[in-house]
């Protein structure tokens, strides 16, 4: 659990109130609250190399920075999620990402003599120029443009669908947001 999440959990906890007396009935079931796995532990990286992961993290921050206090890709742990997602994705998708990240880092070293993760904002943005290509229905023929387009969409989605984004959306509202009907296994 990261520090921000820990503080949120403490703030929301009624632990300082006196414990209420509970007398469970031995005949009735109870409804207990639970949380998802990523509320407790740090995810284990299993797909990208350390260099690729660093490049992806830097790329994610350029694509979806934190703006005006709203969480960006970093707060959403988008890179860690994409490492998990790519680990079980089709090989073509894995290759697109691995080649794309390697190429981005190589371009940074050739142009600036340092890795992409170490670049300043303007330097990094210069290497993202293929994203300025006009949208077409099919993926761009240039592999780097195709990678950047795919990564942009995935980073934005992984950020928007994160717990951090949901909590920011819900802040100050009376109703929970982002809830949808989920279909369980039907058998």
């Amino acid at each position: 659990m990261n520090r921000r999440r820990l503080l949120q959990t403490i703030a929301a906890s009624p632990a300082l109130l006196p414990a209420q007396q509970v007398n469970p009935s031995p005949d009735e079931s109870a409804v207990l609250k639970a949380d998802s796995p990523d509320a407790a532990g740090e995810p284990v990286r299993r797909f990208f190399s350390p260099a690729q992961f660093a490049t992806l993290g830097a790329l994610a921050e350029r694509i979806a920075p934190s703006i005006g206090g709203r969480p960006g890709a970093k707060e959403a742990e988008a890179a860690a999620f994409l490492d998990f997602l790519l680990a079980s994705s089709p090989r073509s998708r894995q290759g697109l990402y691995q080649r794309g990240l390697d190429s981005l880092d190589r371009a940074a070293r050739a142009r600036y003599q340092k890795g992409f993760a170490e670049l300043g904002g303007a330097e990094a943005d210069a290497l993202l120029a293929p994203l300025k290509t006009k949208w077409t229905y099919t993926a761009p023929a240039d592999p780097q443009a195709a990678f950047l387009r795919a990564a942009k969409a995935d980073i934005l989605r992984a950020t928007a669908n994160s717990r951090a984004a949901a909590e920011a959306n819900a802040a100050g509202r009376r109703r929970a947001t982002g809830l949808n009907p989920y279909w369980h296994v039907i058998d």
Partner: protein, 530 residues
């Protein structure tokens, strides 16, 4: 031996199976319904979840649905398991077979758009010389449309247009938003008709809430879920269907039930697959296939999703009056309506769904970071989008056959599906895109993106043909009442019966045809002909 004395066996529980049970059970006919999938309990099987609580943050499990693009991580468990239910297609001609195997079938997820077919479809060959006419006309089916529309509570607006027949509708008299009004005015200038959407009301409007409860309340309907039908048996003396062989989905135990009358509504491709898998001495190439066209003339309606995405400039930044954005509309087919030589470089035509008030995808903007965030805030709710739905032509070579070795998880031979879009469909999609751009520009909208890339065949979930009806038994499988020419106690009620399909969503017509066929069946029984 049957466990109870049923008059008919119905295979499938969706639009056609549900309607057959609705009509027949209320008329006192004892119905046994076999459904390949389980029952759905909306209370037990559905709950609210946040997207971040899903294992894949809403992306879905990679590779789980190679062909079902409609599946989200929220509803993944509604769609069929593609690994257990495989099929094949030519390597370079993908076919996206989208299935639901649950009680209620695809009516659990249908878009509810409900348009009547017109005589431009029923008598298409008379109009432009291509394909085959239906053996019925609008006048034959109109009385049944009249009864189905109120049953599923279709709302819309009657316009008196021949290509979009009027219906028994809940009148949609809502005022269009200003952006829709502007689009409609732009369309009028180019002679393009626009109208309100026509859609079954309610959030479900399914077989499981509108049809099956009524049928079951009569005491004349027995539903057996998890019954995967493997083959139909034929009486060697009479050539009639006399048995249904099915497998329990969970235990894999095999069963046989006798059939006096068989009503097949398993969906276009499943019904054809079952008939092709039911070979006998009388029907060595598949049940009811003396014509040789069983499985052939597969077609659908092609979709170009978001063929035009535009912005309403006055709505940027949340500005503009409150009634500027929102709402939706429909453009019926308007090309090649004059008889004879087509006015375009293609036959037939297309329709559009259009809607106002969405937010365009960030993919469309060549930006990132703070600049993109600013743009997305600016265009929120300012979008206008159009989707093309075009007629595809039924062709002899487009078909379903049985794969020589591929089997499903229950050992049943799996299908091989061949359909591709041809020059006619490609020309139509291009014309639709160019016309759509012109209409949006005429309305003063800012066009962000336009394309004419059709989704693969099958993805519209409007698969039709394979058991087409016709007047000539040598060129069709069914007669004008969905009854097999070869086997008088066999009816195919789903989309397989369609000889052509126009651009209209087919479910309403499937239900109307089924109502008509079911009443014909009762009349035939009264006369002792079945």
């Amino acid at each position: 031996m049957a466990k109870f004395d049923h008059d008919v066996v119905i295979i499938g529980s969706g639009a056609s199976g549900g309607m057959a049970a609705y009509v027949l059970a209320q008329a006192g006919v004892k119905c046994l319904m076999l459904e390949a999938g389980p029952m759905v309990d909306f209370t037990r099987h559905r709950s609210l979840k946040a997207v971040y609580d899903l294992p894949f943050r809403g992306f879905g499990e990679p590779g789980r649905f190679p062909h079902i693009t409609q599946a989200s991580e929220f509803d993944a468990n509604l769609w069929i398991d593609e690994k257990k239910n495989p099929y094949s297609h030519p390597e370079n001609d993908p076919y996206y077979w989208v299935r639901i195997r649950l009680l209620g079938g695809k009516t659990l997820r249908w878009g509810r758009a409900s348009w009547r077919l017109s005589d431009y479809e029923f008598k298409c060959k008379d109009h432009d010389g291509w394909g085959e006419n239906w053996p019925i006309s609008l006048a034959d089916l109109a009385p049944f449309y009249d009864r189905v529309e109120p049953l599923i509570r279709v709302s819309g607006r009657n316009e008196g247009w021949a290509q979009m027949p009027d219906g028994k509708l809940l009148a949609d008299e809502s005022v269009d938003s200003l952006s829709i009004q502007r689009f409609n005015a732009s369309a009028r200038k180019l002679g393009v008709p626009t109208t309100k959407p026509r859609r079954a009301t309610g959030t479900l409007a399914s077989s499981v809430n509108l049809l099956l409860p009524v049928a079951q309340a009569t005491g004349n309907l027995t539903i057996v879920p998890n019954a995967i039908v493997r083959e139909l048996g034929v009486d060697p003396k009479t050539g009639l269907v006399n048995a249904v062989h099915y497998i329990d989905r969970r235990s894999r135990r095999e069963y046989t039930v006798p059939a006096k009358v068989l009503l097949l509504g398993a969906s276009t491709l499943e019904s054809a697959r079952l008939l092709l898998n039911s070979k006998s001495r009388q029907f060595p190439t598949g049940l009811a296939n003396t014509s040789g066209v069983l499985g052939r003339y597969l077609f659908d309606q092609f979709y170009v999703k978001n063929t035009v995405t535009a912005l309403v400039p006055e709505a940027r930044g949340g500005k503009g009056p409150r009634n500027l954005m929102g709402g939706a509309g429909y453009v019926p087919r308007f090309t090649n309506l004059k008889p004879g030589k087509p006015e375009k470089n293609y036959l037939r035509g297309w329709a559009w769904d259009f809607g106002s008030g969405g937010t365009p995808s960030p993919d469309l903007f060549p930006q990132w970071g703070a600049e993109l965030a600013q743009t997305m805030a600016d265009v929120q709710g300012a979008g206008f989008a159009m989707t093309t739905m075009g007629e595809s032509l039924p062709r002899y070579e487009h078909r379903i056959t049985i794969h020589p070795t591929l089997r499903d998880d229950w050992g049943i031979p799996a299908p091989h599906i061949e359909q591709r879009y041809t020059e006619n469909e490609h020309n139509m999609a291009k014309d639709a895109m160019e016309t759509g751009v012109a209409l949006c520009q005429g309305a003063g909208f800012e066009v962000l993106a336009a394309h004419a890339q059709m989704v693969p065949p099958g993805e519209s979930i409007h698969e039709l043909g394979t058991c087409r009806m016709g007047a000539d038994p040598k060129k069709s499988v069914l007669n004008a009442y969905n009854q097999a020419h070869d086997v008088r106690n066999l009816f195919v009620l789903d989309g397989g019966a369609f000889p052509s399909g126009g651009v209209q969503n087919p479910t309403l017509t499937i239900m109307a045809l089924t109502m008509r066929a079911s009443e014909y069946l009762m009349e035939q029984k009264k006369q002792g002909k079945i």
